[in-house]
Amino acid sequence: MGFDLNRLIRGRVWKFGDSIETDAINPYYQYPTMEELKQHTMEVYRPEFPREVKPGDVMIAGRNFGCGSSRPGLVLREVGIAAIIAESVSRLFLRNSISRAIPIFVVPGITALAEDGDTLEVDYPKGVIVNPATGATLPVNKYPAGIEQIFECGGLLQFAYERYIREAALAGRSGLEKQE
């Protein structure tokens, strides 16, 4: 479930424009279940996306990716998107992705680095994104340690649970037995 920051991500690119909104990513009004969402995510921009996206593909986008509501992009992980890389990301979408340990990178210049259908490599430990076909690269910024910890736990939910167990153990409360 979690996202291993040390793993190299290599995948085929789906390229999108600016200000892609959560209504397009997660059109839950019309499609309330995850199964339905998987068949309709991003279709207002690319009708073929839900049909043709393959596990391991990566998504690149312009500025303000994930603007709109506070809905998360879990459906993108469910259809197999291995990383989202955008010129800029709306703050709630960024928070959501961190909270659910979905690999997301804010990389100014990314839309000039690759075209739709290209392959991209994201090497977080080395802090670089490469387009192997052209040899072009861009740097990837490290997250602060606290955020890396959330990723390593597999998301904020797991992080919250671990803290609860730790504190319950320290306090010698019975919370531990009750929850375990």
Binding site: A24, Q30, S70, R95, S99, P144, L157
Partner: protein
């Protein structure tokens, strides 16, 4: 529309006093668990004063708690009197699914001992938070909805968080934040005799892009700011999220004090920026010179002066939502409809933002005027802002004073949605097409 517009922009003087803080820096310093001063760019764990959970609060939160590892759901909430649960959005319940979710919410509220619970009240949670005095100046309030920013209208630091963040807050009353850069939006001008907030924010989005405040804290100021009603401030703060902001705050003044103290007896401490605080950017807008504007489909920043969209036939017009379902928005529609009828073939939907707003409109006689002129008044809530009430069909055109005009926001992805201020919407509703409000409204 980037040329020839009455906006000047300048970057703040980097040599300003070093110790001075913006509102966001001060707010987060005061709420920093580590007790240290924080600056834009820094990370911190902050103490939370209030957590707003709307209709998605209980069942999804229960499921998330189980996903996190808590077999029986959330074991506790950190403070029973600081969690506000409001089953809003779609009341009376629109579906079996919502009814079942609400039942879980009731059970959870009871089990966790949450004190403030608005059970199935028609309206929008954000408006109720303000109507019922649940937000005080100087507080750091979070909500599981993007438009939580609206409470910045009453000098609070408020922002939307994700559901997973909310789980963390409910357990610990703490959350990580990055201290935002601040942007000063200086609004100068005289208050006109109609609501102007929507035009201001659309205009700014058109001029600077729909992410000009991405991750930043907006501080509204200028000669217009103190003249703005709380309703108008709520519109501007709420729409902070449409331009990417983390906070969108107004300073404290008599108008705020009056609004807050008539709704709560709890003490509070106003928040203000220091003289010489560092702003990443300053934007000035001379409101008196600004044209009426609309956002064309399908993005908030796709803004043109209303004259450029003039003549576009419409099928539906709407006023409502957490951005524009307030008394002054509905009052201006009633003023227009006093002298005009809704055009044949146009469906004009109006939805007050809460029961309190609805009541205020009723008592002022606005509802009668609206209905006599052919408008439809919809139960308070979010339906008007979503594809829940008043769907659009392929090829239909809607002009709306709600929050968003994304593709498919009102049903068909082949429908066209324009955003405008309540006056522009009311003018279009009587003309049957987008017009400059000056053509139908004599009060200009």
């Amino acid at each position: 529309m980037r040329d020839g517009m009455p906006i000047t922009e300048s970057f703040s003087n980097q040599l300003d006093l070093f110790m001075a803080q913006t509102m966001a820096e001060k707010l987060l310093t005061q709420h920093n668990l580590a007790g240290e001063e924080v600056r834009a760019g820094g990370f911190l764990e902050a103490r939370i004063d209030g957590a707003m959970c709307h209709y998605h609060a209980a069942e999804p939160m229960h499921d998330l708690a189980i996903e996190a590892g808590f077999k029986d759901g959330l074991p506790k909430v950190w403070d029973r009197s600081k969690v506000y649960v409001l089953l809003d959005h779609h009341q009376p319940t629109l579906s079996q699914k919502l009814a079942d979710e609400n039942a879980v919410a009731r059970r959870e509220v009871e089990r966790l001992g949450i004190k403030c619970f608005h059970d199935s009240e028609p309206g929008i949670a954000h408006q109720m938070m303000l109507d019922y005095g649940l937000v005080r100046p100087g507080e750091l309030v979070v909500g599981n909805d993007s438009h939580t920013l609206g409470y910045g209208s009453v000098n609070a630091g408020a922002t939307g968080i994700t559901r997973a963040d909310m789980l963390y807050v409910l357990l610990y009353g703490e959350l990580w934040f990055q201290v935002p850069q601040s942007i000063r939006v200086v609004l100068d001008g005289k208050r006109p005799d109609y609501p102007i907030a929507k035009d201001i924010i659309l205009y700014l989005a058109g001029q600077y892009g729909d992410d000009f405040a991405q991750g930043m804290s907006i501080e509204y100021s200028g000669t217009l700011a103190p003249q703005l009603s709380i309703d108008s401030r709520m519109c501007l703060s709420t729409h902070g999220v449409e331009v990417g902001a983390k906070f969108a705050m107004f300073g404290m003044d008599e108008v705020t004090r009056q609004f807050v103290t008539t709704r709560t007896e709890l003490p509070f401490e106003a928040l203000s920026a220091d003289q010489g605080a560092q702003y990443a950017r300053e934007i000035r807008l001379s409101v008196d010179d600004m044209p009426f504007v609309v956002a064309k489909p399908h993005q908030f920043g796709n803004v043109v002066p209303v004259d450029e969209a003039r003549g576009t036939r419409i099928n539906q017009a709407q006023i409502g939502s957490c951005a524009n379902g307030r008394f002054e928005d509905i009052e201006i529609a009633a003023r227009v409809l006093k002298k005009h009828k809704v055009a044949k073939g146009v469906r004009f939907l109006i939805s007050p933002a809460s029961q309190q707003v609805y009541l205020q409109c009723l008592k002022a006689g606005l509802i009668e005027t609206l209905i006599e002129a052919g408008a439809q008044v919809i139960t308070p809530g979010c339906g008007i802002c979503q594809p829940r009430v008043g769907f659009l069909s392929d090829g239909e055109v809607c002009i709306t004073a709600t929050t968003r005009n994304f593709k498919g926001r009102k049903g068909s992805a082949k429908a066209e949605i324009y955003l405008g201020g309540p006056l522009t919407v009311a003018a279009a509703a009587v003309a049957g097409e987008i017009v400059n409000p000056k053509e139908v409204f004599s009060g200009l």
